[in-house]
Amino acid sequence: MSASKEKYTEAQYLEAIEYQPKTGTGKIANYVDTRVGGTSIVREFGRKVFPDHWTFMFGEVALYSFIITVISGAFLTFWFDPSMATTRYSGSYAPLQGLEMSMAYATSLELSFDVRGGLFMRQLHHWGALMFVLAMSVHMIRVFFTGAFRKPRELNWVVGATLLVLGLAAGFTGYSLPDEVLSGNGLRIIDGMLKAIPVVGTYISFFLFGGEFPGNEVIPRLYALHIFVIPALLLILIAVHLFLVVMHKHTQYPGPGRTQRNVVGYPIGPVYAAKAGGFFFIVLGVLSLLAGTFQINALWNYGPYDPSPVQAGTQPDWYIGWFDGVLRIMPGFIGNIPLEFVLPTPWGGNSVATPVLVPMIPITVLLLGVFVWPWLETWITGDKREHHLLDRPRNAPTRTAFGVAMVVWYLVMWGAASSDLMATHFALSLNDVIYWLRAAFFLGPIIAYLLTKRICLALQRKDREVALHGHEAGVIEVSADGEFHEQHKLPNEHELWTLVSYEAPAPSGPRPNAKGKITAVEKVRARLNRIWFEDRVEPVSREEYLEAIGHHGESPAGLEAAQSRQAITSGAPADSR
C-alpha cells in the first residue's frame, strides 16, 4: 500500500527480483511474498498498534466464542435431522424408550447419548452461544460507558448493535431446534406475540408456522435460519465490524502521551498476535471446562413436544429472559378491569391483546434506543468533534447515569423471568416478587439515575481534591508550635494527567436557526442539554493548581517541578482551601 507510492531505482527492482533467500523460513516467506504480496499485508496489519487494556478484550471473547460455536455447530449438523416427521424412540435413554417424537428430538437425543463426544459438543455449542451473547453485551456496555461510540465510530456501533440482535436471533432459533417441551413452549410464546399484533398478526404466525401452531414446517425453517442465514449475516457483519475497527484505529483511555492523534500500545505482530492467538485457546479452554463439567439444556428431561403440558421452571436462555420477564410482570387485569378488549369492527370485532402488546413497548424502546443513541447524544450535547480518547465513566456523569438506569431497567425485566425461582429459593411469595418487580420496573431506573449521577460527581470532586491537595498519607505531624497537620502525597504526573484531562462544558442554551428563530425542537434540545451539563465538576485548571501549590506554603516553582515531586508535605490542614 504505502510501498506503491515510493519510487524505486532500476537497481532496486533487479535486486528484488534476483533475491535468493537462504533460510527455510525465508524461502517460505519469499514464496508467499512473490505470489500474494505478503509483505504489504504484514506491513499494513502487522504494524497496526492496539492499546492494551483488559476491558478491550470482550469483543475478542465474542469473536472467539462465535468461532467455537460455529465449529461445534458444524459437528452437530452431521447427526441432527431438522425434521418434524414422527418416529418411535429406540435409543439408549431408558425413560423415553418407545415414545413417539419428532426426528429433530430423536436425533438430539442420539447426539446426547449415542454419539461419541456428542453431549460434550452439544454442551460446548450451548455454553459457547451463551458466552457469545454475554461477551457482545459486556462489550457493548464497555463501549457505551467509555463513549467509544462517538464520532467517527457511530456506524460501527450500529453494526455492533445489529450483531447483538442477530446473536439473539441465532440463539433463539438454536434453542427452538430440539423440539422438546421447553423449546416448544418458547415458540408458543413467540406465536402468541405474533398473533397479538393487530390485523396482520395471525397472518404472520400462519406464514411462519405453515398453518396453525405448531405445524410441520417450523423446525426446518428455523434450522435454515440458524445454520445458514443468520451465521452468514453474522460473518459478514463481523468482517465489516473488524474492518471499521482497523480503519478507525482503536480508541484508548486518557493517559500521559495519549492524544487524539496517536495510539499507544503494541503492534499486532508479534506481541499482540501471540496474545490474541493464545487468548483464543483460553476462551476455548474455559468453555470446554464448562461444557465438560456443567450440564446445560438437559433436553431429555422435557420430553417430546406436545402443546398441552407446560412445565414449572420453563425459561428461555438468559439473553431472551427479558422478553419473558416483561411479559410476566405485565398485569392482565387492573382491579376487575381486563386489559384485553375487543375493538368493534364491521366484521364482528378484533381482540386487542394489550397484556401482550404493552410489554413489547419497553423492548422496542430499549432496542431502538441502542441503535439511535450516538445521534441522540450528539444532538443533545452538540458535540460534533472526533473522539479517539475514551471518557472515564465518571467524567461523563449524565451519560453514565442514563446508561446505568437503562441497565437497571433491563435487569428488572431480565430478573422477572426468574420470578418463580426467586420465590422458591428465597422463600418469598411469588405474588410479592411480582409486585416488587413492577415497582422496580418504574422506580429502579430513576433511583439508579439519581444515585449514579451523584456517585459520578462525587468521584470527580474526589479527583479534584487529589489533584489539588494530594492523597491523604495517613501520617499526622506535629509542628514545633504544636500545630497538627496530615501529610499529603501529591499525585505523580502520570496520575495527575488522568485526573485533570477531561472536559466539562457548561450548558449551551438554545441556538437560533438560519432564520433567527428558536424552534420548539431546539427548545427541547436546549432543555435536555441543560439537564446533561448543568451538574458539573470542572477539571482543575493550571491557575488553580499553581494556587493550590502556593497555598500549601511552597514556592510555586513551576507546574512541571511541582508535578514531578513524589511527596509534598502540606503546610495547612487538609480542609483549608
Binding site: 492494551d52 483488559w54 476491558t55 478484550m57 431408558a94 425413560p95 423415553l96 424408550q97 418407545g98 415414545l99 446426547s112 447419548f113 453431549l119 454442551q123 455454553w127 451463551l130 458466552m131 454475554l134 459486556v138 417441551v181 421447553l182 487468548f279 483460553i282 476462551v283 474455559v286 468453555l287 471446562l289 464448562l290 463439567t293 456443567f294 450440564q295 446445560i296 439444556n297 438437559a298 431429555w300 428431561n301 422435557y302 420430553g303 406436545d306 398441552s308 403440558p309 412445565q311 414449572a312 421452571g313 425459561q315 428461555p316 436462555d317 438468559w318 429472559g321 423471568a417 426468574s418 418463580d420 425461582l421 420465590a423 422458591t424 422463600a427 411469595s429 411469588l430 405474588n431 410479592d432
Partner: protein, 265 residues
Amino acid sequence: MKALSQKRRHPFAFVALLLLGLLVTGGLYAAATTVNQAQASNTPDGFSSEQVDEGERLFVANCASCHGMNAEGSDAGPSLVGVGAASVEFQVGTGRMPMQMSGPQAQQKPPQFNEEQTTQLAAYVASLGAGPGIPDDEWLDVDEGDPARGGELFRINCAMCHNAAGAGGALTEGKYAPSLHGVDEVHIYTAMTTGPQNMPVFNDANIPPEDKRDIIAFLKTYEQQGSPGGFSLGFLGPVSEGLLIWTLGLALLIGSMVWLTSRSS
C-alpha cells in the same frame, strides 16, 4: 325415524327427554363413583384395635390441640374424619405434621414419630371414617413399573408444578411444589391419593395404581441416572445456566484478560 320426528312435538316428549337425561347422568355418576370407591378401598384396613387405641393416645397428646379432641377439626386445623390412613402416612411420615410453624404450607422436617407410631396414628385416623389407605407393596415396586410411560404421565400431570426434572416449583402466595428427589415411594404414592397442601388429588379413577407405579418408577430411574452432562445446577434449567455463565464463566475470562494485559504495563 319418521315416527320419532312426528312425535317430537307430543306434550310428554319434554318429560320423556328430561327423564332420559336424568337417567343417563345419574347412571353415569353412579358408575363413576363406584369405580372410584372400588379402587380407593383396595387396601384393606388391617389395623388392630390395639393400634387404634395407641394411636388415639398419641393423637390426643400431639395433634388434638389443632385438630380437636375427636379429630373433628378447629379453627387451627381441619377435620381428619375421612382423610384416611394415607394422609397420616404422608403428613406424619415426611415430618410435615405435627406442623413446625404456621405459614403458607407445612414444611418438611425430620419425622417426629417412628414408623410404629405413625402406623398407630394412621390406624386411629382410618378408624374415624373411610378414606384412602396405605398402598400395598405391589404398587410401590419400581421394578414392575414402566419408566417411559411414567415419564409421559409425569410430564402431563405433575411437571407443571414440580418441574420436568422433579426439582420443584413456585405456586402463588408463598406456596410451592417441593422437589421430588429422594422422596420415598410410599410418600409419592400417598401424596397422589390424598392431595396434601395445595396438590390436587389424583385418585384411582384419574391415575390407576399401575400408572402411579409407573410414575414412581420414572422418578426413581431419573434419580439413579444422575445428570449425564456433569453438575446438574439444581435441574433448574436456563436460569441457573445463565447465572453460571455470568458468574463463573465471566470471572474466569476477566481473570485471564487482566492477566494477559498486565504484563505489558
